[in-house]
């Protein structure tokens, strides 16, 4: 059984210029201890999709439809109070700039102790104890709990945020670009740490990122988003070796691969569409090298290509292809 099952999640934003469907009809599955990479470029709706799970959205955003099952329980109808309990304890989030969210004038340890005590009835001493062991679990010397945020480097502060996120042994951790602002070496260290923690604690993890390679190394499953829709999902290996959707193919080709050929720049023509006025049919057809005339007319449905490998593209819909040829 899946730990997390999301079906048909749609979220929209009310903007001055109209309604924007930041994510449309998102369906995801996450097993216990598994990592899912949610990949997309800026404004592809990946962050909105993840935050919609626990309804951590700005005032002008609204989850329109969809269900979210966490561990056999439907949380899509949960009240704000219930959601507050679910966040952090069951689904916790590591934000991109989280390391800068620490209060600069209080010792780091105190801030974690406080957070632990707000969420659970534990004594001060217990919370301190817990904080020290959390520090050790993210490979920071427990003696440093008394230090202030400025005494930590960016990578160390991100570790502190990870420690906070896993403090209550959540079932699912969502990392929203958790390593984007970090140096390559530190990024590798933090990703390694996240992987170790996930395996040790058997947490499910959703890693939101624009960086395909990060996903390739740390995730079991990949979901590729474009213009608010998931265009392809599948096991990491399948996605990288046999990508089906033209967008996924182009993304992988655009990625500098030191095992490949030098001086080959795979690029995708044009730029991502404006969410306020999406092109008709498949949102990608304007930039797609393999677009069929039909792609302009109708939005492709999600097709199951093989076990757990799904793709939303007309190229794989025999019925549509035949129909089109006939008419």
């Amino acid at each position: 059984m899946s730990l997390l099952e999301v079906t048909g999640l749609t979220t929209c934003y009310q903007l001055k210029g109209g309604t924007v469907h930041a994510c449309r009809n998102i369906s995801l599955r996450l097993k216990k201890g598994e990592a899912l990479g949610l990949v997309g470029e800026s404004a592809s709706g990946k962050t909105t999709a993840a935050l919609s799970l626990v309804k951590l959205l700005p005032d002008n955003a609204r989850v329109v439809s969809g269900s979210v099952w966490l561990d056999g329980r439907d949380i899509s109808g949960a009240t704000e109070d219930e959601l507050r309990r679910i966040r952090w304890k069951e689904i916790s989030i590591i934000f991109q700039g989280a390391m800068n969210a620490l209060n600069p004038v209080r010792p780091v340890g105190d801030q974690i102790v406080e957070a632990i005590r707000i969420h659970g009835k534990v004594s001060e001493k217990e919370a301190r104890e817990q904080t020290r062991s959390l520090f050790e679990s993210v490979e920071i010397d427990a003696g440093r709990v008394k230090e202030y945020p400025h005494e930590f480097s960016g990578g160390m502060r991100q570790r502190v945020m990870i420690a906070m996120a896993v403090a209550c042994n959540p079932k699912v951790v969502i990392g929203d670009e958790p390593t984007t602002a970090l140096d390559v070496m530190v990024q590798a260290q933090v990703l390694q740490l996240l992987e170790d923690l996930r395996r040790k604690r058997e947490m499910g993890m959703i890693l939101i990122t624009h960086d395909l390679s990060v996903v390739g190394e740390t995730c079991d499953q990949v979901a590729v988003m474009y213009a608010g829709r998931i265009v392809e999902t599948g096991p990491t290996e399948t996605i990288f070796l046999k990508p089906a959707h033209p967008y996924t193919m182009a993304l992988i080709a655009a990625f500098p691969n030191i095992e490949g050929e030098r001086n080959r720049f795979g690029s995708i023509a044009g730029s991502p569409p404006n969410l306020l006025c999406l092109p008709p049919g498949c949102s990608f057809h304007e930039r797609c090298a393999q677009a069929l005339p039909y792609c302009r007319e109708q939005e492709p449905e999600v097709l199951e290509l093989s076990d757990a490998h799904n793709c939303a593209c007309h190229l794989y819909n025999k019925q549509v292809n035949q129909q089109w040829k006939v008419s």
Binding site: L15, K16, N60
Partner: protein, 299 residues
């Protein structure tokens, strides 16, 4: 043909900018109220002398002195029998003129000192800022009184005195904004294409501190009007012209308080408050329009 296109399109661009500015501004209620009153006072200042007949301001010995409001003399008369309403309307021009002119002088000095000080830094900054500090800390009123007394009571002198004593705060604000703007990569880019200090200050820093200048000018104008009122009230005003401060001055001197002549004291006071408030409202509204951080999130 192309050059023509660029010139013609400059107008289009200006219109586009203005339209997008108005789009944000019109959502600010306070700003709209302020703007309404400013337009009202502006019209009053412009048309004032055409609205009232000069005769109502002449001491004719016919009209009753110190008369409470009656039809014909809607706000009553003063001790010489002059119409208060007519005085108010005529006075608008002087008050607004002093406010706008003094604010312009003040902003010009403040902006130049602020930008130069912030951009060059080091010794230039230290010298200019200590000079600014002097103007910030000297007791304002005695200085202004002394200067006004020295230069003599004329409208030009009043504008000058207020203008050169009120720029210090502005210089500080502009300087701190300059410090932040000059660290932006586009300023470095300008250096990389070979631009010198003057060019960078005019083309890159000034346009990016301009919003602050607009907002501040309006606020300084409010202060300048208050200052003019204060100076006139204290008898340092231009005796040949009617301003609200002058009216207050005469009302006080001629015993409006003792005679309970509220119609003489209150109207100029209320007008000063209204004008200052509307300038302030517009100033804050501009600040909000140009400073997205203060803007209510309305996405």
């Amino acid at each position: 043909m192309l050059s023509l296109a660029v010139n013609k399109d400059a107008l289009v661009l200006f219109k586009k900018n203005l339209a997008s500015f108005w789009e944000i501004y019109r959502r600010n209620t306070m700003g709209l109220i302020g703007l309404f009153f400013l337009i009202f006072f502006g019209l009053l200042a412009f048309l004032g002398p055409h609205l009232v007949s000069v005769t109502t301001l002449v001491v004719d010995g016919v009209t009753q002195t110190l008369h409470p409001p009656t039809p014909g003399y809607w706000l009553g008369t003063d001790n010489l029998g002059k119409d208060i309403l007519a005085g108010l309307i005529i006075g608008t021009r002087v008050s607004l003129l002093v406010g706008v002119a003094a604010a312009t002088i003040s902003m010009t000095i403040g902006t130049i000192i602020g930008i130069v000080s912030g951009y060059y830094g080091k010794t230039v900054d230290a010298l200019l800022m200590r000079f600014t500090d002097v103007f910030l800390v000297i007791p304002w009123l005695p200085l202004v009184l002394a200067m006004a007394a020295l230069l003599g009571p004329s409208l030009g002198n009043i504008v000058f005195v207020i203008g050169i004593t009120s720029w210090a705060g502005t210089a500080r604000i502009i300087r701190s904004q300059t410090l932040s703007v000059k660290e932006r990569p586009y300023v470095e880019r300008a250096r990389a294409i070979g631009a010198g200090g003057t060019h960078i200050m005019l083309r890159h820093i000034l346009p990016n501190v301009f919003p602050l200048i607009y907002a501040n000018t309006v606020l300084v104008a409010a202060i300048a009007i208050l200052s003019e009122t204060t100076l006139s009230f204290l008898g340092m005003g231009d005796p040949t012209r009617i301003s609200w401060g002058m009216m207050l001055h005469y009302a006080y001197e001629m015993g409006a308080v003792i005679n309970m002549a509220w119609w003489w004291l209150l109207p100029p006071g209320i007008f000063v408050v209204l004008v200052v408030l509307s300038f302030t409202f517009v100033g804050y509204a501009l600040d909000e329009v140009f400073n997205p951080k203060l803007r209510r999130r309305d996405l």
